[in-house]
Symmetry: C2
Subunit: 386 residues, 2 copies
């Protein structure tokens, strides 16, 4: 586990919260033992390899066919593979972006034109909070447990124009059930608040694959959903983030979209169609077994270590939190780094209260099993070090 260079963006020499999570992920990028970021980095399956072999054919298809057709087919294949049969098909309702974060930037800037504050699930990946705040919005933390326990406190709606929920959540893997989504949409509709969902991790969890669009449409709420192909398949970050919205949204998302892009690559759209078809034809079940097996390995390797816990026993997401009583996540991160292993300390996920994440670490599971196993053994070593 030898040398990698540390490059941009520079982090301070002290505690790990001098940079955001993406900056911590950046340090890991060139390591063979990068279990930091949530991108898919496992090996391609046989079926997926066949698609990569066909890239020159897909390129030729992208040159010849109208991009509108390729885009419609990519959307249909992706949404249908994930059970989202009621997704909107009218022009402009699914805006294909370079990534889910670009979709999030467009949404954030659009929200800032008409509302002042957003109630955002807590904890969640910090770049959601950073993009909203960076565009001038105030944030109110919406505790994940309260979100799942029952109706939101109506007092919340007095001070916020939008409720933003990540489901399955990152890093906890918790999924908003059909019943909770129904009530949440009804509450937001009744109070005139926009309901925004980030469902980037839903491909990993069948419990998040009930038809969200049917529920959102039926409620009459003003809604936005950010979907992402980027977490599922090891396509070297060739991906599409989608900003999907209700026809009554009343935000300038299409205008701001057109300021930033004309569209995504037809080659990527053709790839997304093929990977989605492969997913629907068994690839998704294969992926679920693969992630479950990696998760079982992690839990087994760390089992019975004193003070080490499994905070999210029900999670099926491609990330796994590890609770550590005796050390901070940042201390463990520093010990791992000496072995060129990179995980993520969880402070920054708790964007409103970082200390609540002091004693957890997030591991990525969408990795080939061998380097992941070696990384987890290094973690076990770090946790038992004197």
């Amino acid at each position: 586990m030898s040398g990698t260079q540390q490059v941009k963006p520079a982090l301070g020499e002290t505690e790990g919260d001098t940079g955001n999570l993406t900056q911590l992920e950046f340090l890991a990028l060139n390591s063979e033992f990068n279990i930091a970021d949530g991108h898919a980095r496992q090996a391609l399956t046989t079926g997926q390899n066949k698609i990569v072999d066909d890239l020159p054919l897909l390129f030729a298809e992208g040159e010849k066919r109208p991009v509108e057709e390729l885009e419609r087919e990519a959307h249909a294949a992706f949404f249908n593979a994930l059970g989202q049969h009621s997704y909107p098909i009218a022009p402009g309702r699914v805006l294909s972006c370079y990534s889910s974060s670009v979709a999030m930037e467009i949404l954030s800037r659009s929200l800032a034109e008409t509302i002042e504050s957003v109630a955002l699930i807590h904890p969640t990946f910090d770049n959601i909070a950073d993009l909203l705040r960076g565009n001038g919005l105030k944030l109110l933390p919406l505790d994940e447990n309260m979100l799942h326990d029952g109706d939101l406190d109506v007092g919340l709606f007095a001070s916020t124009g939008c409720v933003f929920v990540t489901t399955p959540n990152n890093p906890t893997g918790r999924v908003v059930s059909k019943e909770r989504l129904t009530r949440l949409a009804e509450q937001c509709a009744a109070h005139g608040a926009i309901l925004a969902l980030d469902t980037s991790f839903r491909g990993f969890d069948t419990r998040a694959q009930y038809d969200h669009y049917e529920i959102l449409q039926a409620s009459g709420v003003r809604w936005v959903v950010i979907e992402d192909t980027g977490k599922l398949w090891p396509t070297l970050d060739l991906k599409v983030g989608m900003l999907v919205h209700s026809d009554n949204l009343g935000l300038p998302v299409e205008q701001i979209y057109s300021d930033i892009l004309l569209g995504v690559s037809p080659l990527i759209l053709a790839m997304v169609r093929r990977f989605s078809e492969d997913a629907a034809a068994g690839g998704l079940e294969h992926l679920h077994r693969f992630i479950a097996s990696n998760r079982a390995m992690v839990r087994s390797e760390l089992a019975e270590l004193p003070g080490v816990t499994v905070p999210d026993p029900e999670s099926r997401a491609s990330v796994e939190r590890v609770g550590i009583e005796n050390l901070t996540g940042t201390e463990v991160w520093e010990r791992l780094r000496e072995h060129n292993v990179y995980a993520l300390p969880c402070r920054s996920f708790h964007w409103a209260n970082p200390s609540a994440g002091d004693h957890t670490l997030r591991l990525a599971l969408a990795r080939s099993t061998d380097p992941l196993t070696q990384s987890v053994r290094a973690l076990r070593h770090a946790l038992t070090q004197r």
Copy 2:
């Protein structure tokens, strides 16, 4: 020239300035006779075809090699192909983005943190103005002729913290000379203003390939340059926009970059390296001949039409303006649209004074010669229609 669907984003039924230029470009996307957008849509050359055939190999390379190496090689190949030998190689100084517009969004939001207004070249592509204004910045028009004629009025610096120049400019193709850039950088340095350049079209014009970075560095100015691989090669919009900056910039570009992305695809980086190597080995000269030939065809087809002029006789960019005395650009756009031909009326390029663009139309030259010729003949027909 038969039916295409019109999809997002909707335009009004009246004059063409109800949407921005990208929205007008969007309407053209599915037409065989799209001479609207400035993306490269000509056929691949033999050398480029070989690279596309190698996509599965490049994918395998992207899986195996550290992304840091691929990125360094892509930057080196691209900058060296365009004569930019003094580009900065220190970590974090060249931020690879999904596109030049994403780089522009990051720069705009960064500028808005410390300054209030930007002097922006006039005319230029409207999304530069829209992204700056959309992030809360005030704009002062900097007339292109005044920029080229000599030193800027020092009064300008009293009210602006940044001078933004597109060179070669879009749509005029005008290039800031080495002498003018030297003085501009000196003036900005003397007045503490940031100098920002968008050089996305420089690959088409050897006059814009002197080493800009050498001049910028020597001046001591705080500078930013947006570079783009996306205009040069028909890679189906697989591209990299680069936000390059001086070490004394003093803007949070790295922080905001990390809010939006972790990095671009290693496959795209490997492609950029190969396309750049091909460009350096004769591909760029081939491209220049190709664009010059298309330009000569356009001028020849439209020659001697009464009231039709060539506003930019010296331009080598991959776009060509046509001046039309008797009709507005929007009227011509409407006539062309009936034949499923899409060009760009130029009003919106004149972001501070749209009527100055009333009688010009922009054509894209980075198109295969046959459909371009048919489109230009449709234009000739439209211009001679009673």
